[in-house]
C-alpha cells in the first residue's frame, strides 16, 4: 500500500495538461492515457467495494476516511476524463466552422474513430439545419458565410497557393494559381479566404 506519492488522479490531470498546452489545435487522442485512467478508476472502485462491504458488516468506522478519499479520487478521475472528451469535442466543433466540411488529413490523424464519427454527425446536422434555415427562398443559408457585413459585392483577392479550378455560380470557371490576382464576388469566395487559400486585398 505504501507506494511512493500515490495520490491518485495525476494521470488524468496529465491528459488535460497536455490538451491545454496545445492551445487551439487538437493533439493526438491519448488512447493509452485514457486507458490508464480507466484502469485506475476500476482499481479504486474494486478496493472500495471490498472495503465498503466489510464496513457494512462490522460497522467499523476507522477506515471511513480512506474510503472517502478514494471515492473523491474516483470522482476526480471521472471529471478529468469527461472534461478531456468534452474539450476535444468542443474543438472538433470549431473545426467544422473554421475549416469547412473537410478536415485536413494531418488533423484527422489526431482524432480517434468515435471523434471522426462525431465530426461527421455534427457536420450533417449543421448542413441539415442550414438547408432548412433559408427554405422560404428555395435554397439553404450558409451560416459560415457573411461573418462580417460586406462593403462591396466584389473584392480583390490574391491567391496564396495553387488551388486549381474554381467555378463561380454563373458557370464561369477561373484558375486559381499562386500569386494570381482576381476580382471576385465576395459572397462566393469568403470561405476560401477563411481557409487561407485567398488573401483579401484592401
Amino acid at each position: 500500500m505504501t507506494r511512493p506519492n500515490k495520490l491518485f488522479g495525476d494521470k488524468a490531470f496529465e491528459l488535460l495538461k497536455e490538451l491545454e498546452r496545445s492551445s487551439q489545435t487538437i493533439p493526438a487522442f491519448d488512447d493509452d492515457g485514457v486507458r490508464q485512467v480507466l484502469e485506475e478508476i476500476k482499481a479504486i472502485f474494486e478496493e472500495n467495494v471490498a472495503q465498503a462491504s466489510t464496513y457494512n458488516a462490522s460497522g467499523d468506522r476507522s477506515l471511513w476516511p480512506l474510503l472517502n478519499y478514494r471515492h473523491a479520487a474516483l470522482q476526480r478521475n471521472k471529471r478529468c476524463l469527461l472534461a478531456y472528451l468534452y474539450e476535444r469535442s468542443k474543438r472538433i466543433k470549431a473545426l467544422r466552422w473554421e475549416f469547412g466540411p473537410i478536415i485536413p488529413a494531418d488533423i484527422k490523424q489526431a482524432l480517434c474513430e468515435p471523434e471522426v464519427q462525431f465530426f461527421n454527425n455534427y457536420s450533417k446536422s449543421l448542413a441539415a439545419y442550414m438547408c432548412s434555415a433559408g427554405y422560404s427562398q428555395g435554397q439553404g443559408l450558409d451560416l459560415t458565410n457573411h461573418l462580417r457585413p460586406p462593403k462591396s459585392l466584389y473584392i480583390e483577392v490574391r491567391c496564396m497557393e495553387d488551388y486549381g479550378k474554381f467555378e463561380l455560380e454563373d458557370g464561369e470557371v477561373i484558375h486559381l494559381k499562386k500569386n494570381s490576382q482576381h476580382y471576385l464576388p465576395r459572397a462566393q469566395v469568403e470561405s476560401l479566404v477563411r481557409q487561407g487559400i485567398l488573401q483579401h486585398l484592401a
Partner: protein, 209 residues
C-alpha cells in the same frame, strides 16, 4: 475566465489540482500513502501532508481528520493590500490562479481575511489592468505579473481595443483567414521546414564522413 465554473471547466480542474498543507489530527488507518515521508501504513496525528484541493473540497470545514492551513502567499499579500500597493505585486509568480485558489480557501480561513484580500487586490489592480490593455499591451505585459484571470482580462482588453480601432479606421469588414486555419498553416510550414532540415542533416553528415 469563469466565475461559476461548470463540471467540465478545465481551469477549475487546474485550480483544484493545487496542493494545500494540512495537519493530521487523528490516526488515520492505512492512509500513510498520502505522506511521502511516512514509513508506516497509517497516518499519524501531528504530521503535515500536502493534499490536493479536490479532496479537501469534499471534506467539511470542521472535519475531525485534517486542519487546513492557509498558504503563505495570502498572508504576504495582506500587507500590500493594507498599504494599497498591489499593482507592483507579481501575482502570477505568487500563484497562477491567485483569485480562484483563494476563493476555494475562503471557508477554511479562520481569520476571515482571504475573501477581503482577493476582493481588495482585484479592486486595486483592475484600473492598472485597463491602462496596460489600452497601451497595446505587448510591451507592458510580463507573464509573471498577472494571474490567470488577469491575463485573460488583459487579452480581452487588447482584443477589444484593436477591434475598436479597426472600426474607427473602417477596416473591420476585411475578410481574414480564420485563426485556427492560420495556426494550422504555421504548424504545417514548421513541420515542412524541420522535414527539410531532417533530410539535409544526414547528407551533410555523409559528406563529412
Amino acid at each position: 475566465m469563469n466565475y461559476f465554473p461548470n463540471y467540465y471547466c478545465i481551469e477549475d480542474i487546474f485550480v483544484t489540482q493545487e496542493k494545500v498543507e494540512c495537519r493530521v489530527n487523528t490516526k488515520l488507518q492505512r492512509m500513510g500513502f498520502l505522506d511521502a515521508g511516512a514509513d508506516s501504513d497509517d497516518l499519524e496525528p501531528g504530521r503535515t501532508v500536502n493534499l490536493p484541493l479536490w479532496y479537501i473540497k469534499e471534506l467539511k470545514v470542521n472535519n475531525a481528520y485534517f486542519t487546513i492551513s492557509v498558504p503563505e502567499i495570502y498572508r504576504n499579500v495582506h500587507k500590500a493590500v493594507c498599504e494599497a500597493e498591489t499593482t507592483h505585486i507579481e501575482l502570477g509568480r505568487l500563484h497562477p490562479y491567485f483569485y480562484e485558489f483563494g476563493r476555494y480557501l475562503t471557508p477554511y480561513d479562520r481569520n476571515h481575511v482571504i475573501g477581503r484580500i482577493i476582493f481588495e487586490t482585484m479592486r486595486q489592480r483592475v484600473r492598472h489592468l485597463l491602462d496596460i490593455s489600452k497601451s497595446d499591451g505587448q510591451s507592458a505585459k510580463s507573464d509573471l505579473k498577472l494571474d490567470n484571470i488577469e491575463a485573460k482580462l488583459h487579452e480581452a482588453g487588447v482584443r477589444t481595443n484593436s477591434q475598436y480601432i479597426d472600426w474607427l479606421q473602417m477596416t473591420g469588414n476585411k475578410i481574414r483567414t480564420s485563426e485556427l486555419v492560420e495556426e494550422h498553416q504555421k504548424k504545417r510550414r514548421r513541420a515542412d521546414r524541420s522535414d527539410d532540415e531532417g533530410e539535409g542533416l544526414p547528407s551533410s553528415k555523409r559528406a563529412t564522413l
